[in-house]
Symmetry: C2
Subunit: 188 residues, 2 copies
Amino acid sequence: MTDGMTDEIFEEGITETIVTTLSAAGVPNAAPMGVIKRGESLFIRMYPGSRTYANVKETGHLVANIVTDPVLFVTTAFEDLENSYYLPQQDMPPVIKDAYAWAYFKADVQGTVKLSTVCSKILKTRVPRFSRGFASVIDATITGTRLSILGQPGKSRILDDDILVRKCGTPRDIEAMDRLKKLLGLSA
Amino acid sequence: MTDGMTDEIFEEGITETIVTTLSAAGVPNAAPMGVIKRGESLFIRMYPGSRTYANVKETGHLVANIVTDPVLFVTTAFEDLENSYYLPQQDMPPVIKDAYAWAYFKADVQGTVKLSTVCSKILKTRVPRFSRGFASVIDATITGTRLSILGQPGKSRILDDDILVRKCGTPRDIEAMDRLKKLLGLSA
């Protein structure tokens, strides 16, 4: 189920977000995840081993944040996010400080995680500039999380992405890519 | 040289735009091109054989449009754009009808095409939703324009992009990819 505002945030297909959750004990977590929209259904395919999955099972809720900082995607894919990036909220998980928009969902684990909107907020908007630099950081990050399965072709793909990031990216994209390569042991 | 508003539209690195130009005789043309920003310099690397390059040599000006419709990127890469997509302007090339923003540049051909802002306009903004579907259409379009050089590895890349578009894209992304494959003779 979606309301009017989540329709402005999520479109048919997959929107790349950073999902924030709380454990039952109240410890925040952030991880990059695609929110899938098929008709009126919103859902996420989660790795059952992830912290996000455990938190959703414990609390039944999550927040999907729209952010544009490539370093946040790399960091949350592999490391704990520093507390300073979270903006605490009343009775829901924290949102990411610089998010353009967020949606707070009731999340039901049924194979996939089905999402029902509780509330959502658009905080700011911008000219939708597209850069292959940012796109390549996201591609490399997703490839990086699957590197143990993908092996050498995965590494080659990340190094191809690296070339595009250096050609097309912002300084922040290049910083994100450098951090990713370091985390994956792919730095020169 | 940039002014304050072009700084909001273009960031360091490459921003993918659709460039509109007029021939000396006043015939409009549109083509997808990356606007490169390095420090305070804005420029475009153009194929000397392109219609855009000829028009810039004839008139010394171009408009870079920020658009989000993937079909427009595919179409303008390979075909003439229907007149209904152009919004005529006084004393400058037409802009693309659904552009979020555009910048009108004086364009000096000196190896690369150096851009100096005449004026620019932000018409609308949005939540900067990122989808690998749109990104893969752009990647496949750029690969498609170089297919005669890239050969089979280029075709493989486009078919990998096709898989991502079907998994992550909007219906419009899928329509754009289908059109691209048809134009390149890669349809099943």
